[in-house]
Subunit: 319 residues, 2 copies
Amino acid sequence: MADVRYFLGIDVGGTKLAAGVVDNDGRLLCAERQPTQAALGPEIVLERLMAVCHAAIASSGVQLSQIVAAGIGCPGLIDSVQGLVDLPGNLPGWDRVPLAARVREALQMPAFLENDANAAAVGEHRFGAGRGAADMLYLTLSTGIGGGIIIDNQLYRGSTGGGGEIGHMSLRYDGRPCVCGSIGCFEAYASGTALAARAREALPTHPDSALAMVRELTAQAVVEAVRAGDALAKRVWDETMIALAAGLASLIHIFNPSRIVLGGGLTNAGELLFEPVRRHVRTRAIRPLAEACEIVPAQLGDNGGVLGAAAVGMARSPV
Amino acid sequence: MADVRYFLGIDVGGTKLAAGVVDNDGRLLCAERQPTQAALGPEIVLERLMAVCHAAIASSGVQLSQIVAAGIGCPGLIDSVQGLVDLPGNLPGWDRVPLAARVREALQMPAFLENDANAAAVGEHRFGAGRGAADMLYLTLSTGIGGGIIIDNQLYRGSTGGGGEIGHMSLRYDGRPCVCGSIGCFEAYASGTALAARAREALPTHPDSALAMVRELTAQAVVEAVRAGDALAKRVWDETMIALAAGLASLIHIFNPSRIVLGGGLTNAGELLFEPVRRHVRTRAIRPLAEACEIVPAQLGDNGGVLGAAAVGMARSPV
């Protein structure tokens, strides 16, 4: 019997902090969560994060000395070699924070940092819907669109570690402004935020829509209205699915991947999303490339962040 | 002194066939060219191609037995493992032609097939403007837009060998139809053909433009009119440069490459192209990623096809 090895997965988000102990087969022994309270700034958040890590280790029953390494997933532009986090939109004040070094010192173990979408890609590839696909893309469809690229079974980081910003490829280069400062980015058309924005913009001309009555016009509210048969919701949903499929067709032309794994809140819509997306991709992508690529839902769900971060620690630790 | 090794580079195009003998330092000993006469169909073209190859070898002074391998660059969807060419738009009747096997049998040497843009990427990476860039993209801006992706010093082919179809990423997903059957592809906005089409469409409302007088409204004619100060030409050129920069910014976000090499006829415009493209990329791309990427002209010029094909033979032959 091969030795079991343990890793700590640390998931830093704008709204919650999570940590869990994971074994090398992807079994999550336990996970602890706390609100981030990002407004308190990086020092307080780091203190809170270490408390979450210690709590996770304590409740796992695994000794600190048995844990090989920590992996950390964090939003923002990551320097994965130096282990720095730079200016994540939802973590105010994080200006070149040496997150990997801080975790390493506090927990006395090797610690490796990746962008959160990259970590989720590594997790799905190792333990989830991406298993066995040597060339795979992972996209998280949520507030924005994050991406991770697996090439030849390895995470692709690019020349300075900033690759995989799939949400910021142009989908309509003279179109909607994007939060990143550019124009017409994929996430300005096909994220949950974009879906809700489309609905909000169309409401004044569709006062009879059920969406006129909801308190907060979120992506989730649009999905519910689509299921209830609301015409406006259906229209903006269809438009969003076409934009999403156009982006996936672009990626299929560029990467010729064998699998695209979609995760994030928007994919909770299930077949309501996957059926039209697969159909539109078939009409837009070069046939043999479209046929070579499965489009499947992520499998790791709410634990994807922690499992992905642990998988990063695993991938970067010598066996 | 290390032994000199020789390779045969074979460049199959819709208008011309070329072959040349290249040594392992990228010196082209000789090159032979003939018109393709593509309308005569694959069998006649293959006969003509073998004649070009034999002529190149004869005039090189190198013995057939001294040539390690042949590399072949060819348009169309390529199965680089099986060595098949499928349905290149400009080679009518080429339906799963086993081009690598035909060359291997006729010349009695190993033969390796790649898409022509992929071969040019390998050539620029090994011998030209891409030297030393481990993560590099090559784009040819011509009738269409072809692309080749170098990752970790290797050509990236994707799961079935069809990757790198950069010209068919969406730039405006609800925009111009593309020859590929999809909508709003990069090459429908930023190729030489797209430039000429923009000018042609704008002419009726600009009868005073110098372009109204040219016999054939080509990309080259537009470039000349821009240099002569024609207002319409300048407008469509500016629009095309913005589209080109938007596509490059997308690729920078996805790949975080250290270098993008641009070749093909449109780049003969020189700084008229590179200056605005670099400027627009800086305004559209995430700053650290834009700063990490040089955008430079290809260096291999008219011999890029033959040198690239030879580099493919070299890359795929055991040392």
